[in-house]
Assembly symmetry: C2
């Protein structure tokens, strides 16, 4: 595979790009069946629309419910695509992910457990069962900048899927977005008819809410941070910020409820001003908003007695906590 030639956002002619990619996909897949996993992020959403345009019902799109999504997210994504005429099948896989996450506190191991569960246990199985030989993936240029491009990387994908390289001979991975970066994909997604909630979606990490829990990501702790996340997203919806989030800490802090000491939990809120995620500043939220956020969180999220707001800049901070 040759060096990939970037198409910048200003160079991108979405109409031409869509027609060309759909023709490519049609040509490769022919009368066959293709499969893809939709996360609701802009990349996998754009790929789903491109693939559906090319293959119609011969593209099987799955949404893996890993149990670490935000409140109502699986249903919301499915409903958005249904309105666009795309049938997405939800795959219930919460147990698989929570067993894989059990006892893990190290952030890297957590990420690895989620990746392995996704590829080997859940999606790999779907691929094999579906008998589809074509996989559509939302890889973008930024994803492969630091990895080895071409055959070698695709070998890795097969390995991740638990598919033997010998068997893999029959499989083909299609990555229609590899020439684009995030801003190009957003422009493409809009042109593909996806709603603003998708094409302008706030960055959200691959390991989802498990990246918003310091320490072990149990079902209970994910439920707490999910609730706090919903409050933060609701209260800050009208704030112009690059990204905002709630993080559940592992450290316990003292609180007081009904005149009794309670060794409770703490939620940290982060809200970033940023152009390109390389540098970031805490958004100067008015104190009445900060106090309202804190008040709602200690009232509505069980066991939380303390709330903080991050005031450091990136660098040396990063946007996400783990």
């Amino acid at each position: 595979m040759a060096q990939i030639k970037e198409i910048t956002v200003s160079e991108l002619d979405t109409k031409e790009f869509i027609a060309r990619k759909q023709a490519e996909i049609s040509k490769i897949v022919g009368k066959g069946i293709a499969i893809n996993a939709l996360s609701g992020g802009v990349d996998s959403s754009a790929v789903t629309m491109l693939g559906h345009g090319a293959l119609g019902e011969r593209l099987k799109t799955y949404f893996i419910d890993n149990g670490i999504m935000r409140e109502g997210e699986p249903a919301q994504i499915v409903s958005i695509f249904k309105k666009l005429g795309v049938n997405v099948q939800i795959v219930e896989a919460q147990d698989e992910f929570f067993s894989a996450l059990k006892g893990i506190t190290d952030p890297e191991e957590k990420r690895e457990a989620i990746t392995q569960t996704f590829y080997k246990k859940v999606f790999g199985k779907l691929v094999k069962e579906s008998q589809a030989k074509y996989l559509l993936q939302g890889t973008i240029l930024t994803d492969i900048d630091e990895t080895v491009a071409g055959i070698k990387r695709q070998h890795n994908v097969f390995e991740q899927l638990g598919i033997n390289p010998q068997e893999a001979f029959g499989y083909k991975i299609i990555e229609p977005l590899v020439e684009l970066r995030k801003d190009g994909v957003r422009k493409l997604a809009e042109a593909l008819g996806l709603p603003r909630a998708i094409f302008n979606r706030m960055p959200f990490p691959g390991p989802a809410l498990s990246a918003r829990v310091i320490g072990e990501a149990t079902r209970e702790r994910i439920a707490l941070v999910r609730k706090a996340t919903a409050i933060v997203e609701e209260e800050l919806a009208s704030v112009k910020a690059f990204q905002y989030m709630a993080i559940l800490h592992n450290d316990r802090v003292t609180g007081m409820r009904d005149n009794k000491r309670e060794f409770g939990q703490q939620i940290e809120i982060r809200c970033w001003d940023s152009i390109d995620a390389r540098q970031g500043q805490p958004t100067e939220l008015p104190f009445n908003i900060l106090k309202k956020l804190a008040g709602r969180i200690v009232e509505e999220v069980p066991g939380v007695v303390s709330v903080t707001y991050n005031i450091a800049s990136k660098p040396p901070s990063t946007m996400e906590a783990i």
Copy 2:
């Protein structure tokens, strides 16, 4: 011992109180020797001045350097008293306290380790070696509100000091402040000639900086929170607030230095508006102050990549974190 009759701050006639208490102390101690431990808090400072006025050099005052005080605190306290003609002896006991704190992460166990080390290992030994039979203590009415007053409590003090109740027959504990509450002691301390830094001193917990470290209070971690505390106290010195503090978390968060990921530390800042410590609100510090604080802390405190500001109210939060 009969029920203690409170003297409210408005009832307190400091001149009369000082004369009466000094006469009482003189009468009890006679030609003997008394001993007391000075922490630099307003209670023990007032007792030191009262006792010194009554007994002069026959009161031996010790400042126990437990290694968990703030930057420059031991020297500063000794110098304040030197200016007032009172000779305070610093007792170097850092090793004793840090060995006692080793491996302890539970807040209650931490507190207990400090209390036991103070009484049994350090001050108890000083009492016995000094051959003083009279102990001056800065107990105030609030301290005994929830404990059993009188003989029984004094027995506890002897037990804490590791002094056998039989031996204790010869010992006497003198508590000149038991009729007062904190506001009364502040008024008294001012009348005794103590400087504003003492009589108006911001509340500071008994377990000192070990209460500002979540998790194990090692020498290294105390050094980090000491540095952050100095920055917070310097930057907020002119802010009208009830209390402010820096807290070192145990949770690690991701940061980035010299383009490398760094699993770093987080400091939480709290600054409280409050009348009487029963309820509290986060002080609405301007963002330029918050950003300056965060900037200095990530730059000057090694390994810290993230800083938060507490935005919850008391209750359900408490003022201190542990």
